[in-house]
């Protein structure tokens, strides 16, 4: 085991896959220079693998993501970078009508082994055109896997499995966890600003050689009997923090890290919820028509009976840091809601 940062783990897993399989290539805006501030002691992938395998693109998301779909169909395993999840809006046709549909339409005879890697999430004052999460919006579409890691070990393992998955994967990296994103977008080299960065997400133990973590397997972070807190990404860390405080209040909370929004680990969810019979979903994505409602519906369909609540982002994320902190799921909102549910 070695210690690694979240962002470093992603790059390291990609590096391993690129060394193993020459069909793995990277495309995206600025991929040749991104991560230069953190380039020491290891070079970025552009320097390591060269411009034929790490291709910088014009600002043409609909074009290069669309091209990546058929490049994948023709035998490559492209990792396409879309700088912000918000910009997936620009490239939606390639994802919605092509990447997600080809396997089905071809009678499962032709796959699209494509990873779309994108930075998501808020907490640094960039407002709602650069801070959205959107995983629920994408998980709505059949044919896509949606990965949202919360710590370095998962980030690397899930990236490796995303690369070797034969169908399209959208891989979200939260800017509070990936240090170079926060450096670029949040601090810009300043020391006069601070952010609520979850330490255990930022850096942690990782294996010496990456091994795939299967998509759709949740991770139980903390055991508990009174309520199940379910989340992904940064929400997992906010949930753990809340669970520790709830413990002091005499409420024993189990914390589940979904790791993947699609496919969902239904068995893992059932196992926990049939024990606690109370559910709180913590989702940085939008509340309406999203992950939080979906999990509730699935558990009801499975015949479970439970108390339920959710803490989500309910509106467009405001620019003002103060308003933003209230808009995103925070520990206080989680604790208040959990107490409320358990006491119902």
């Amino acid at each position: 085991m070695t210690k690694m940062g979240f962002a470093q783990a992603i790059v390291s897993a990609i590096e391993q896959a690129m060394a193993e399989d020459e069909n793995v290539i990277i495309m995206g805006e600025d991929v040749h220079v991104l991560r230069i501030p953190k380039l020491l002691p290891k070079p970025n992938l552009f320097i390591r693998f060269g411009k034929e395998r790490v291709k910088y693109t014009p600002i043409s998301e609909s074009g290069f993501v669309g091209a990546a779909v058929t490049a994948a169909m023709a035998g490559l395993r492209p990792i396409v970078e879309v700088l912000f999840a918000d910009f997936l809006g620009v490239t939606m046709d390639a994802i919605l009508n092509h990447a997600a549909k080809i396997s089905f339409f071809s009678g499962n005879k032709w796959n699209v082994p494509l990873v779309i890697r994108t930075a998501c999430g808020g907490g640094y004052g960039d407002a709602g055109q650069h801070e959205q999460s959107l995983w629920g919006w994408l998980a709505h579409i059949p044919g896509l896997s949606i990965v949202v890691p919360s710590n370095p070990a998962d980030a690397g393992g899930l990236m490796l499995s995303s690369i070797y998955e034969d169908n399209p994967v959208i891989y979200f990296e939260h800017k509070m966890l990936a240090d170079y994103w926060l450096d670029y977008m949040g601090s810009g080299g300043r020391t006069t600003v601070s952010f609520d960065v979850p330490e255990k997400g930022l850096e942690g133990e990782v294996p010496d050689k990456w091994e795939s973590i299967p998509l759709g397997k949740l991770n139980k972070i903390k055991g508990g009997n009174d309520i199940t807190l379910i989340s992904v990404g940064v929400g997992v860390h906010r949930s753990i923090e809340a669970a520790n405080i709830l413990e002091e209040k005499g409420i024993s909370a189990e914390v589940l890290d979904l790791r993947c929004v699609a496919p969902l680990d239904i068995e893992g969810l059932k196992k926990s919820v049939s024990k606690t019979e109370a559910v709180l979903i913590v989702d940085e994505d939008y509340k309406n028509f999203g992950l939080s409602g979906e999990i509730c519906a699935i558990l009801l369909e499975e015949g479970l009976s439970f108390k339920y609540g959710r803490v989500c982002t309910e509106n467009t994320i405001p620019y003002s840091r103060e308003l933003e902190d209230q808009a995103l799921p925070n520990t206080k909102r989680i604790i208040d809601k959990a107490v409320n549910i358990v006491k119902k």
Binding site: P43, Y56, E61, S62, G63, V90, D126, A127, Q129, H130
Partner: protein
């Protein structure tokens, strides 16, 4: 063009520059959050266009909205309060610098590259439909010329004969990518391909910009169809404040250390990265600064230059003072 107009254009540019310098100071102090994309270096282009807009003309701006908003006469105190995330800001603290809106000025921003093309086209469609004889301007960088939506909107504006002024502010860089490396053909030929008349101009020369824009806007107001301006400039602060490439440029020991540690990876790709790091610094010369260029033109009247500088400095100091007072709750917003 009479002399008085250059003086006015200079004043417009200086107001914008000093305002953005004040913004930079607050950003560095941590009072403004997130990314901050300045328009420093493109003031001559913005002044050359915005000074010729009439009441009722529309403006679609990109993520560098501060100069056009300031020059359009929108209250700088409201803009600065917005940057501070204050509820009395231009957009109630909800938008920030990338999402500035003023309904009464028909001025709308977006942080999505390329979106100002369709935005200006739609404004022009409505204005023309309402028989208002007004025009719409789209401000965007040359990076946006590789977005489908931009090219689609140029075609729309052409076939619908809409009064859109497409203003491409070309600084050679699409964020940290050299635009020439990812762009086929000439941009002005793209406009011509859609049947749109194009003008190429030195965007650091406000007089030159004013002249071509004056001709283009006359045609727009004469219902001669959309026009395209390709103006060249330099961003004095790179893509955004804290631009990682500029950090290397400003801290050469970082560059030396990086070069040293990466020797073992010597090759074409490494050379390209170091070329970029050198290139960005090479552009930040005073001769490309539109303020300096204009000051040179006006240097024969040093006294007047000094007077304008003093007046504008005082105005911006007052803007900052008033803004911070409102921010601290010291005075009521009037």
């Amino acid at each position: 063009m009479v002399e008085a107009e250059v003086w006015q254009l200079y004043r417009d540019m200086l107001r914008s520059r000093l305002f953005e310098e004040a913004v930079t100071d607050l950003w560095e102090k941590g009072k403004i959050s997130g990314e901050l994309h300045l328009g420093t270096g493109e003031e001559a282009i913005i002044a050359g266009v915005v000074s010729q807009l009439e009441e009722g003309d529309a403006m679609a701006v990109d993520h560098r909205g501060t100069p056009p908003f300031i020059m359009r006469g929108i209250d700088p105190v409201l803009i600065l309060l917005e940057f501070l995330g204050h509820s009395k800001g231009l957009c109630a603290g909800k938008g920030g610098h990338m999402h500035l809106f003023s309904k009464e000025h028909l001025a709308a921003s977006s942080g999505i590259v390329g979106s100002s093309g369709p935005a200006a086209t739609g404004f022009a469609l409505a204005l023309k439909y309402q028989k208002q004889k007004k025009i719409a301007v789209a401000f965007f960088g040359e990076g946006a010329m590789n977005q489908g939506m931009m090219l689609e909107s140029m075609n729309l504006a052409s076939v619908w004969n809409l009064p859109v002024l497409f203003v491409c502010k070309d600084n050679d860089w699409a964020v940290s990518t050299v635009t020439n490396n990812v762009t086929g053909g000439k941009l002005i030929d793209r406009a011509k391909g859609f049947g749109i008349e194009g003008y190429e101009v030195d965007g650091t020369d406000v007089e030159a910009v004013w002249k071509v824009v004056n001709e283009a806007i006359s045609k727009l107001r004469n219902n001669d169809g959309p026009q395209f301006i390709h103006a060249h400039c330099v961003h004095m602060e790179g893509h955004f404040l804290g631009d990682p490439l500029l950090r290397y440029h400003r801290n050469p020991t970082m560059l030396v250390e990086a070069a040293d540690s990466l020797k073992q990876y010597a090759g074409e790709s490494l050379d390209e990265v170091f070329l970029l790091l050198r290139k960005i610094g090479g552009q930040l010369k005073k001769k490309f600064d539109p303020l300096v260029v204009t000051q040179k033109k006006l240097k024969d009247n040093a006294e007047r230059l000094k007077q304008i500088e003093e007046e504008v400095t005082k105005e911006i100091e007052q803007v900052v003072y008033k803004t911070l007072e409102i921010f601290k709750g010291g005075v009521k917003d009037d």
